[in-house]
């Protein structure tokens, strides 16, 4: 007999060691995420996957499922908290969608739509984060960084280059590159790296092909992040 837990009242089967998020998605239930990626160990920083398991708030991506647990996810309370986390991500950076090449293909924006975030609510921090256009093929626009560390992990663990790292602390934490000059051009970064195409938002962008897809035909113009994620899970 397979083990199962209840997600919003519905039984979800799981195997030992599977996290709540993995088991839920496999069973066709959507739990949102930004920093989680199927090819990497759980990271647990964005907190979008927050659920209530047995009455306690946990990250679904990092918490192994347990037999008999009652897990709340798609509830007004949890979705309200997710909206709050999205608002935090929007105000701490400079997310100006109308001029962003990633608009329409951006997971942060798509989650804003999914959780009906109509306002950033808080005061904007308007941080100073200059762009790095030094590299011949790629542009770095730090204004949009959400600190998911996917580029850090991809470059370190897959590309074997450690081009990216986080430095600073707290609200002053920021992305840095592996060069004394601080310039991407002075690293061995390549447009063919996994790190070059893993950014869920618009920080790491290829040069020379912005706004290639017209509005109306971009990824999240045609489907929601919920349906896209679940479709990818099936295939």
């Amino acid at each position: 007999m397979t083990k199962q837990f209840l997600l919003d009242g519905q039984p979800v089967p799981f195997e030992d060691g599977q996290t709540i998020l993995e088991a839920a998605r496999k069973a066709g239930h959507y739990i949102p995420s930004l920093c989680w990626h199927q090819d990497f160990p759980p990271h647990g920083s964005c907190k979008l996957c927050i659920v209530k398991a047995a009455g306690r708030h946990v990250s679904a991506c990092a918490t192994p499922a347990k037999e008999g647990w009652e897990v709340e996810s798609n509830t007004p309370e949890m979705n309200g908290e997710r909206r709050g986390l999205l608002q935090m991500l929007f105000v701490e950076g400079n997310h100006f969608c109308p001029s962003c090449e990633k608009s329409g293909n951006c997971e942060l924006q798509a989650l804003g739509y999914e959780y009906e975030m109509l306002t950033p609510r808080f005061r904007h921090f308007f941080p100073e984060r200059p762009v790095d256009a030094s590299h011949p093929d790629m542009l770095l626009d730090f204004n949009r960084c959400i600190f998911c560390e996917l580029c850090v992990r991809a470059s370190r663990d897959v590309d074997g280059k450690s081009v990216f790292a986080l430095t600073g602390r707290g609200i002053h934490k920021h992305l840095t590159v592996n060069a004394e000059s601080g310039r991407l051009a002075d690293t061995n970064f390549s447009k063919d790296d996994l790190a070059a195409r893993i950014c869920p938002v618009g920080v790491i962008l290829p040069k020379g092909r912005g706004f290639a897809v017209p509005i109306g035909e971009r990824t999240f113009d045609t489907e929601t992040i919920r349906s896209k994620t679940l479709k990818e899970e099936e295939s």
């Binding site: 964005c46 908290e81 701490e92 430095t167």
Partner: protein, 603 residues
């Protein structure tokens, strides 16, 4: 790429050599590399990365994490004023202002000649003898205007720190009440001899009988932790003493480290015996670096006496030694998994749990992390037996607790009480009067109002790592909460969204109220942020960050309400001030060049 001058490179290579070029030593290497020039220039980071064969980005990541590592130049005299609420109550702001004026510099900035920089830092653990400061890492307490004048003069004369008056650097223990632990006069090795007699299993049973629980505040059963590590697979096993005493208002570990170091190291060795561990670390907070030489001396003496090293007390297969690992200004490293990351030479970011350190800790090995006081207490159990230990205190809280008492009282200092002591009794003993509130357990703890002073210090009532800050009727509890909110925003590691952004947002709301822009709507937003921080944070720092606000909003709400200028809405900034730059650029000062910040004044 700029080349390093010859001498620093040679000295730097010496540092790298001394640490065996191990990447796990990165934080220690950075601390010592910084000693060479006072800060860490970019080429130094590059050189360290090349020598350790690790990416430069990792070195920069670590260097940027710790408050006491500087990737920008700082003064040859680096003055850091301790900024706990107790320092503030003793007038640290005025003293810092005075020193800045005397030396003609602005806080946070470097003087043009590179001589001096002055800034604040989180609680330095001198609350019983504040206001405190660190000068180039050396602690000075009991600051007065007179001392500040003298310090300004000595800095101006560029007098080396070694030639400053010795009494400046004397940090007293201020022990006011002793009980079983502080009265223990143990010959080094006596507890060890006793437990070797018992055998590893017998010793673990004794600890179990004692009902000893962690003194770091969480109160996890020590015997359970030790047994888990013992039963976990992986070698060698590790014992870590958490001396990263960063909780504002706590200084009991400072006193234990200063005067009871043998009990601590012996306790670590007792833990090693139970667990079967062979490596030990004492993680010493950067603020207590001045204790390092004397602690190293104690370790050396213990090695010579056969109390550390191979075959301890001639017991075959009992090998254990201890290294001291320095922190560098990061409160979050008091969290055990962040501490382990830091031990590994990384940024102090708390890990995902499970796995817990007892199964996968330092370098993936079974690791016990215990508080300083917990480890010292095990000596009592070794000498007197578990049952005797369990006989004092309360049903769920065996033994005694060291309290670090500061704030508004006649006799601040260290008090050891059996668990179960009522708050009111403590207040009486330390000579507190007209007490309005007590913050127990530090910034992350609980704020108790007068009607709660019959409550007791115990895991089942008011648990605490030991901080006990007293506020009399003259204090404003809003200011207290705001100081703690600033502390958490400064100390957030920035890993998870709710804590990284939420602590800054919360700080923004507290500042909005403090600056005279408060509105009723802000209190609802503060409530909402408190809840999200508590629910969604990755570690205890984030979930504890709203505690001071939650408590004071409930128990001292008028302290917030009297700051409101609107019952509806109020901008967070001064609208007229937002026009100041434009006024200056246009040389205008007509009525149209101004805005009333409060709308009702407009008509």
């Amino acid at each position: 790429m700029s080349a390093l001058p010859a001498t620093p490179t040679a000295a730097l290579d010496g540092v790298l050599q001394r640490h065996g070029h191990y990447p796990t030593e990165l934080l220690q290497i950075l601390i010592e590399a910084q000693d060479l020039e006072g800060w860490l220039p970019a080429p130094t980071l590059t050189h360290i990365a090349q020598s350790l064969h690790i990416p430069r980005s990792r070195v920069e990541g670590v260097a940027g994490f710790y408050s006491f590592l500087y990737t920008q130049p700082v003064g040859r005299y680096r003055v850091l004023f301790s900024d706990n609420i107790t320092d503030r109550m003793l007038g640290n702001a005025e003293l810092m202002d005075a020193l800045c004026r005397k030396l003609w510099i602005e806080p946070g900035k470097l003087s043009e000649d590179g001589l001096v920089s002055i800034a604040t830092t989180s609680c330095t653990g001198l609350c019983d003898q504040g206001p405190g400061m660190l000068v180039n890492g050396r602690a000075i307490g009991q600051l007065t205007h007179r001392r500040i004048n003298e310090i300004a003069e000595m800095i101006r004369q560029q007098r080396p720190l070694e030639l400053w008056p010795a009494e400046y650097f004397q940090i007293g223990d201020n022990i006011r009440r002793k009980d079983s632990l502080l009265n223990l006069d143990m010959k080094p090795g006596a507890a060890l001899a006793a437990v070797i007699e018992l055998g590893r299993e017998g010793w673990l049973q004794e600890v179990q009988k004692s009902n000893l629980r962690g003194r770091g505040g969480a109160g996890f059963a020590t015997a359970v932790k030790w047994a888990s590590a013992r039963n976990a697979s992986g070698e060698p096993k590790i014992i870590v003493c958490n001396a990263d005493e960063g909780e504002p208002g706590t200084f009991k570990d400072r006193v234990l480290l200063n005067s009871y170091a043998d009990l601590i190291f012996e306790g670590m060795t007792l833990a090693a015996w139970a667990v079967g561990a062979s490596e030990g670390f004492l993680y010493l907070r950067g603020e207590y670096r001045y204790l390092l030489p004397q602690l190293e001396a104690v370790l050396a003496r213990r090695r010579e006496a056969g109390l550390l090293g191979r075959n301890i007390l001639h017991e075959p297969c009992f090998d254990f030694d201890i290294r001291i690992h320095l922190g560098a200004g990061a409160y979050v490293c008091g969290e055990e998994t962040a501490l382990i990351e830091s031990l590994e030479g990384k940024r102090g970011t708390p890990r995902i749990r499970p796995p817990f350190p007892v199964t996968k800790g330092y370098l993936g090995r079974p690791t016990v992390v215990n508080n300083v006081e917990t480890l010292a207490k095990t000596c009592l159990i070794a000498l007197g037996g578990g049952e005797a230990f369990a006989a004092s205190g309360t049903a769920q809280s065996a033994g005694t607790k060291l309290l670090s008492i500061s704030g508004d009282c006649a006799a601040p200092g260290i008090y050891e009480y059996p668990f179960g002591v009522p708050i009111a009794r403590i207040l009486e003993d330390c000579g507190a009067s007209d007490t309005q509130a007590v913050q127990v357990g530090g910034a992350a703890g609980v704020c108790l109002a007068g009607y709660e002073f019959q409550r007791r210090i115990a895991y089942e009532d008011v648990p605490t790592a030991g901080a006990f800050m007293i506020f009399d009727g003259s204090r404003d509890l809003f200011d207290v909460a705001r100081a703690f909110v600033h502390f958490f925003a400064h100390e957030s590691c920035g890993f998870c969204t709710p804590c990284r952004v939420g602590t800054s947002l919360l700080q923004g709301f507290m500042d909005k109220l403090a600056d005279g822009h408060g509105a009723k709507a802000d209190l609802a937003d503060i409530d909402w942020l408190d809840r999200l921080l508590k629910n969604a944070s990755h570690c205890g720092l984030g979930s504890a960050a709203p505690n001071p606000v939650i408590d004071t909003l409930q128990k001292f709400r008028p302290a917030y309400e009297r700051r409101l200028v609107s019952l509806d809405f109020e901008p967070a900034f001064d609208l007229d001030a937002a026009l100041a730059e434009a006024r200056q650029l246009t040389a205008r000062d007509d009525p149209g060049a101004h805005l009333h910040t409060h709308e009702e004044e407009e008509k």
